[in-house]
Symmetry: D2
């Protein structure tokens, strides 16, 4: 079977596994106070152009999101996200468990826009009894989004400017950040994100690591004593160097960016194959996830050779099929998928 179901179905990039295994030997200091984490922090500061940034390493994405959002908000404040955003739909209420409402906004392509922020901020500011409503105070946006879209730099700039004008903060969930930065016409850089966001993550789990998300606060005063927040939230890994070793390997010479850019190129081959097969796309994605609208017959045909995710039964009976590449996807696998797609039953 061909695995195009997700970007976290492989253990990790061989170089990362090697780096991890090579930490065997002398003893390490625990909880992230080790040299490998120090190196990885320096790497993150270098690639983000944020020399003073506070950098932490969490194990998983839901954990990182909950810890960051919990650290940035007071009790009665809420985070604004696309209704299709990861924290809205796929984290089992992890944010609410921390006491905060996720204020959901219907957003095309799951991309929260400056206009959404402006409207909600103005609504709150006009509220006659503001103590009765959750105060929106943090904009959450996945980059790229849950539908594979990569915002333009101008969009992120306006989002950041609008949020800050209203006294909000901006949090960029970068669980798939590499796949966004690797998009063909991407005009956003990591230093841009460090300049525009108050907090962001650089996802490792889906981008070559076995596990791990780097949490970055460009201004280290943003979340004082975040390590205590992490420990209290069960998110401080005892053997922290396991995270440091992975991020150092991914970032020291550009592996992170190469491996994800390669995956994006593979995904664009998939996209072309879908288009050639006449299959409509659910979303315009220049990144590593492709979302196709398929008939049940097509999905069944595909399923004989390919492992994929599907969801959203549409009114006309069609499904949304996700075909997802990763740093591990090979040319041969894509070629085989192309063949399968070329033979798909017609769309009608």
């Amino acid at each position: 079977m061909l695995h195009f179901n997700n970007d976290y179905c492989r253990t990790g990039h061989p170089r990362v596994i090697e780096a991890l295994a090579s930490t065997q030997g002398e003893g390490h200091v625990g909880y992230g106070h080790d040299d490998l984490c120090a190196q990885a922090r320096a790497d993150v500061r270098r690639v983000t152009g944020a020399p003073d940034a506070a950098v932490h390493f969490a194990v998983g994405g839901t954990q990182a999101n909950a810890l960051v959002i919990g650290a940035l908000l007071r009790g009665f404040e809420g985070v604004v996200a696309a209704a299709d955003g990861h924290i809205s739909t796929h984290e089992t209420g992890a944010i609410e468990r921390g006491g905060h409402k996720v204020i959901e906004v219907a957003c095309p392509g799951a991309l929260l826009r400056a206009d959404d922020v402006r409207r909600l901020a103005e609504e709150f500011e006009a509220s006659p009894i503001p103590e009765h409503v959750v105060e929106p105070k943090l904009a959450y946006v996945s980059v790229p989004t849950e539908w594979g879209a990569m915002p333009r730099l101008s969009q992120l700039e306006e989002l950041s400017r609008t949020a800050h004008r209203h006294g909000w903060m901006l949090f960029v969930d970068g669980a798939r950040l590499g796949y966004g930065l690797g998009a063909a016409d991407c005009d956003v850089t990591l230093p841009d994100i460090a300049r525009l966001a108050d907090a962001f993550t650089i996802g490792g789990t889906k981008c070559g690591a076995l596990f791990g998300e780097a949490v970055v606060f460009p201004d280290p005063q943003t979340a004082p004593r975040f390590r205590a927040t992490m420990k209290q939230g069960g998110g401080l890994l005892a053997k922290g160097w396991l995270l440091g070793a992975q991020f150092h390997e991914l970032l020291r010479d550009g592996l992170y960016f190469e491996a994800t850019a390669q995956a994006v190129r593979q995904a664009q081959r998939v996209r072309c194959a879908l288009e050639r097969a006449g299959v409509p796309l659910r979303a315009d994605s220049p990144t590593n996830q492709q979302f196709a609208l398929m008939t049940q017959e097509q999905a069944d045909f595909l399923g004989r050779r390919v492992v994929f995710d599907s969801f959203e039964r549409h009114a006309d009976g069609r499904l949304t099929v996700r075909l997802c590449t990763s740093w591990a996807t090979t040319d041969a696998e894509v070629s085989q998928l192309e063949e399968v797609l070329a033979a798909l039953p017609p769309t009608r």
Copy 2:
């Protein structure tokens, strides 16, 4: 000025104030273990036809909602409510503070329907990785709704049946319950609610009391040790008899029902006056709140004589104006309001 802004702008029904004042004298046992609470509990069981019900008295509505919902749900479970529902919009995230997501559904008239429950339940049941999503487990509906609608008995029956069929519970927020039961063509009774809901409140604050909401669990096993939940949540009044005295006075001879039914009749006079004035209604409300769509000019004219609430600036510049009666609204006040409305600038 005429006060039609809300139904909680007066201290309390004279008989209730009198009953409260008359508790002065000998010492009482604290925290609701007193005789007046015992009497009031018996009253609640009698009027709801639920002889075994567990009955508790909370001070306020947000408190009661948060305590009940917190007691009924496990951590990862959520409550489903209309997007205009009170817990969705007007409680500053009190439910999320308790760790639970409010799953919001767009509902005409803020009335959650059986179909909404069915769709969400089926979506969850079909979820390939159910541990990734909040499990909907409780349906919340305000009776009457935030837009003044009173559900039909058949609607509540279907809502209850559907919820239970999917293993959910049903919670009826009765902050304005009296005003709903007093609607002209209401076919719902308190025993119906006790039969259909797993938990419900009988609102006192807006219905004649100075403060207080009776919390009713028809089956006493529904929320074991709820008193501890109340205390931990800061919702157990030291001088509990103040609540008992009020509810006993309201319920012992039907004052609760008479006073609210009277308010509903006043509200229907207001409604007719709005219709005569050619002012469109935002919602079809047979209860004590009337929602009118007014031009700014009309609202300004009204504001010279009447205190009211307004919200929702519509695209055409009109506002939603709420005119609200209560047990305290007099014939004379409504007559004066009728005169004002008769002189409103035309709607155009």
Copy 3:
């Protein structure tokens, strides 16, 4: 029966009930934005000598404690209290529900001392991995304490100085504050407390009101948007003027201080009667609660005429019996109690 069981067994001071009843009439603005609350806030600022203080009115003590502590602490920070302190023992984990550890310290007389603060602060500061332990950041002290002790001004000054030197805050729980300020040799004033504490409450429930605790932040920047914290926590009373009316009546001409001082004098008569009867005191209390060590025989004898609280079965079989006066305790009641105590079986 004579009621000496607690100081919250009577509805309220007649003048307070009268003030409450007299709010009937015209409509009031809700949620504490009314004129009576404004007057009561001015009263509080006047009697505390804190002209800029933020003043809020909560319904109950557990609620007030949980809201204040939640507003002052970040997630991973804890509050330090006597092991016998109210938040440690009698609030069903209300503080923990808000996510904060109550760091309990064994304290004679339940009086947290500067030395306790110093020791815990230095322990934390010396912690090799501070992210692994709860950071103590707030000192909680009941004034008077749970055992009736009234700290000396010098003690409070040193407590405040020590707390602030270590970057902590100080919260004074004044549920029985009037009874402490009314102690014969008390050298503490309300302006002292406002000068030394970052937050404190002035208890109404036990000191003449039907219910209500004034929450005072001498520096209004201490807890920004505390009204939202209150609403989210279910602690914002819809008819806020009910609280304003009571506190205004208690504070406008000194009723609060007179009524509680009178209760303290009654309690000291009880204390003398206990001493005359040869009953040892569990604690040296110059305030309205007296704690006597009685044999079971004595307690049984007492119980035939007097309602009281008892707890702590000691190793020798004796009980701690609490005899508590309030603003409502009459000379005649104390005289009758004196007679009963004079006839107690001997202590042996």
Copy 4:
């Protein structure tokens, strides 16, 4: 330098690293639904003799403790632990963050006893107003304890029996379980623990794994939908097979037990060396941690050759020095440590 500072300073047992690395290759299903987790679950059920047990794999110990305790308790219930217990002192309030009080009990050797449970249960059961106090409902005990003690089977049996008699549950934190089971005179087996506890963990992080704690509920009904609890708490690893692979390797042929038993033998050599050097022991530990009372001069001498943890400055100026072995400790390292200890300055 010789590393005797802790048992988590090495990456992992070579066989475990190898097993982890060998998962590279074909795609895996995410979130623990994979075959390796299935195998590891079967291994756990086999070694614990609990064929129906629900088995989950968490990443870290604090996380596992918080998730389990949160799943077992209702809001107002608390967990009882030794004052020196891990959840009391070293988890930054993770349990309180979940809303639950840790009821701390002073216990010699940090071993919670049946008598402690009985006393607290009886106190609660005798409580006149039980809704005012946290209900103790779960006994937490680390096996071995934080001071290295290994309870006897009879002690665990009585603890379990007493807890269950009072309607509590028993949770065994097995972060170092292997080191306890490997103690020379240990009469406790894994099936004993599965028979006596309602929930327990088998620690991997300190016992040969890179990370990971197996969470076991012998009765699968104990914590329904625990996977949702894990996800909401940020504790469900995306690449769950990384945990499955490690536990399968540790358990499939007894590596877990051999590696930890070997560490215990090394620790007993250290203990003898301490005794020969005349250094008093702070605790009688038959497991892998030795706690020695050293003068500052001794500690300074030791520190020139050995990395160790120290804490507790005693009144006489001495320190508690922890010397800790692990599965990675070699004969040569212990021999070198023996030499250093033989040359220690005298104790005086």
